[in-house]
């Protein structure tokens, strides 16, 4: 294969473009990190000449923030558990081609994807179930995503059927087949969908404001938003005024702290989700 000069120019421009995209994506993130470690009295720059962890120390001294972190971890873990149980238990039966009524039930579910009543009618349900100001509101209101459900159903459908049939002949119940045969074969899709649910729950900031009224129950994103808008930030910068951290550094330190858990989980699940989502099918 000969490479012409045209090809080399083309290659160089493509790679330069990719590097530009990388920089555009990364510079804002790096700058946030830089601002968060900029010592008091210095103007932040992309590559700081001096570093101080005072803002982080200040934040970690705040019991309200630690409590919010705990709330978020609890909500994310229990939310993923509930969502995964509901999604798997709905997707698996609907993936069995011989289940009577499967088309109808899928239609009933699909319809909610195409049309929903909106914010207020759901709020009234949460209120009438007496779930307002309980974590159940956050764990249940969006527990099942129809998109995730359909991706998982498609994945189950594509598994070789012979394995399940063999287990059925040996006398296994449906639950045993699901637990011992289907789920172990579905690791990529389980991790992918689990990550999607975890991210949604970890990132949720509107629903807590909507459904909760107790400030001590709020998860991290709500507290982060209050710090960023300066709403309750007095609580977090009380001692900062007299000691070390400038408010900008404090705000960005809060951003970094909220992002870190995501960055820790992301790399080792990331490799699954391309294969996971794509094998689940574009069709959704």
């Amino acid at each position: 294969m000969t490479r012409t000069r045209h090809d080399r120019t083309f290659d160089r421009s493509v790679n330069a473009f990719l590097i530009a995209v990388l920089l555009i994506t990364l510079i804002p993130l790096i700058y946030v990190l830089a601002v968060s470690i900029t010592p008091l009295g210095r103007t932040p720059s992309l590559l700081p000449t001096a570093a101080s962890l005072a803002a982080y120390a200040e934040l970690l001294k705040q019991p309200a923030l630690i409590r919010a972190l705990g709330n978020s971890v609890f909500l994310t873990l229990s939310g993923v558990l509930i969502s995964m149980i509901l999604t798997v238990c709905t997707a698996y039966p609907l993936s069995r081609p011989d289940l009577p009524g499967r088309k109808f039930l899928t239609g009933v579910i699909l319809f909610t994807f195409l049309f929903n009543a909106g914010l207020i009618p759901l709020y009234l349900v949460i209120r009438d179930l007496h779930l307002l100001n309980t974590y159940w509101a956050l764990l249940l209101h969006g527990a099942v995503s129809v998109y995730n459900l359909l991706v998982m159903k498609n994945f189950f459908q594509n598994l070789p059927e012979s394995l399940e049939e063999a287990a059925k002949i040996d006398g296994a119940t449906d639950l045993q087949v699901l637990w011992h045969i289907v789920l172990p074969l579905s690791k990529p899709i389980l991790l992918t969908i689990g990550l999607f649910y975890a991210v949604t729950q970890w990132n949720s900031f509107f629903e807590p404001v909507l459904y909760l009224s107790d400030a001590r129950m709020m998860p991290l994103p709500v507290v982060l938003r209050d710090i960023l808008t300066g709403l309750n930030s007095a609580e977090y910068v009380e001692s900062a005024a007299t000691t070390t951290a400038p408010p900008d550094a404090l705000k960005m330190a809060a951003v970094v702290l909220t992002t870190i858990p995501m960055l820790l989980v992301y790399p080792w699940i990331q490799r699954y989700f391309t294969s996971g989502t794509l094998s689940g099918g574009v069709k959704g």
Binding site: L29, L86, P93, L105, F115, V144, T258, L278, V282
Partner: protein
């Protein structure tokens, strides 16, 4: 007639029915498994549909959904005739269409560049890094935007000042706010939307590229005549899917980014529903607006699906 009604079912009639019962019984384990999920859909998706009737009522919390008085379409007409109707529709449609028209090309170009790159390592790193912002919440992106755009120490404003301009207060300036909404959306979602286009590119048979190379096609010609046509189905599909959500405009993003000074250019249907419904207790009016939006969305999706089946060969559902 009466004979037929009175007579007991014949063996032939009993057969399929008993077979069905037997099939249902055989699958009892699966139905039991379905129960919690179906209960969830009944409670959190179908009960709200029942509650949506308050769009046609004057909802009184004491009387409840069922016993509040009917008022016909007056909630709808009140919305259509109000001064904010035009403003809300304009904001919603302008922001939505701008996101679609300005946001789609970068995702397509990024997918092409990753596919064409001679440095596979660089391509993979770019792919992984550009996915990441999709997983950051809008609150975090709001923090990032504050760092980049604040009039004092924001990186963008520093660059503006260095270039001899005046700093802009992007997040509170009605002239700049929509641009912030659109470009932050592009920054956050381009890598993620590129996945689908990339999948389409990977699906194109390599023999097409080889044949083109033998025929002496340049790299640009290969993109124009092989890659782009190969992605066309997915491009059409993604566009139609987004048209189905054209009235959404990105509620979470706008809810966290907007503030009083920019309401005139930023307030979209969903943010208005939240403020009127929850904060001002206008449950019926806000439900009517939400229902209007839902119906338009449903209509768009049904039409989009028809068009997709016709032109792209496959539908969204």
């Amino acid at each position: 007639m009466t004979d037929v009604l009175r007579s007991s079912p014949t063996a032939a009639q009993r057969g399929p029915r008993q077979r069905l019962l037997a099939r249902l019984w055989r699958h009892r384990g699966l139905y039991l498994m379905l129960l919690p999920g179906l209960l969830w859909f009944a409670l959190f998706r179908y009960w709200p549909l029942w509650n949506a009737q308050i769009a046609f009522k004057d909802f009184q919390p004491v009387q409840g959904v069922l016993h509040s008085p009917w008022v016909g379409l007056s909630n709808f007409t009140q919305f259509f005739q109000s001064y904010y109707f035009t403003q809300l529709m304009t904001n919603t449609l302008v922001i939505s269409f701008a996101k679609l028209l300005i946001g789609l090309p970068p995702a397509i170009i990024l997918a092409l560049a990753i596919h064409e790159s001679s440095r596979k390592g660089l391509a993979r790193v770019t792919q992984t890094v550009t996915y990441l912002p999709h997983f950051l919440s809008w609150v975090i992106v709001f923090g990032i935007l504050l760092a980049m755009l604040s009039p004092g120490s924001g990186l963008v404003n520093k660059a503006l000042v260095a270039a001899g301009g005046d700093p802009v207060s992007f997040l509170t300036d009605p002239g700049a706010f929509r641009a912030v909404v659109i470009f932050s959306d592009i920054w956050k979602e381009t890598g993620w939307s590129a996945i689908l286009f990339l999948a389409a590119l990977i699906g194109i048979s390599p023999s097409l590229y080889e044949a083109a190379e033998v025929d002496g096609a340049t790299r640009w010609q290969r993109i124009r005549h092989i890659s782009l046509p190969g992605m066309l189905d997915v491009i059409v599909l993604v566009t139609l899917l987004r048209l189905g959500h054209i009235l959404d405009a990105g509620f979470y993003q706008i809810y966290v980014l907007y503030s009083l000074p920019v309401y005139s250019v930023a307030d979209v249907i969903d943010t208005w529903v939240y403020r009127q419904g929850i904060q001002n207790f206008q449950f019926s009016l806000a439900t009517a607006v939400g229902l209007f939006k839902g119906l338009i969305g449903l209509l768009m999706i049904v039409v989009a699906n028809r068009v997709a089946r016709r032109f792209a060969g496959q539908g969204l559902y």
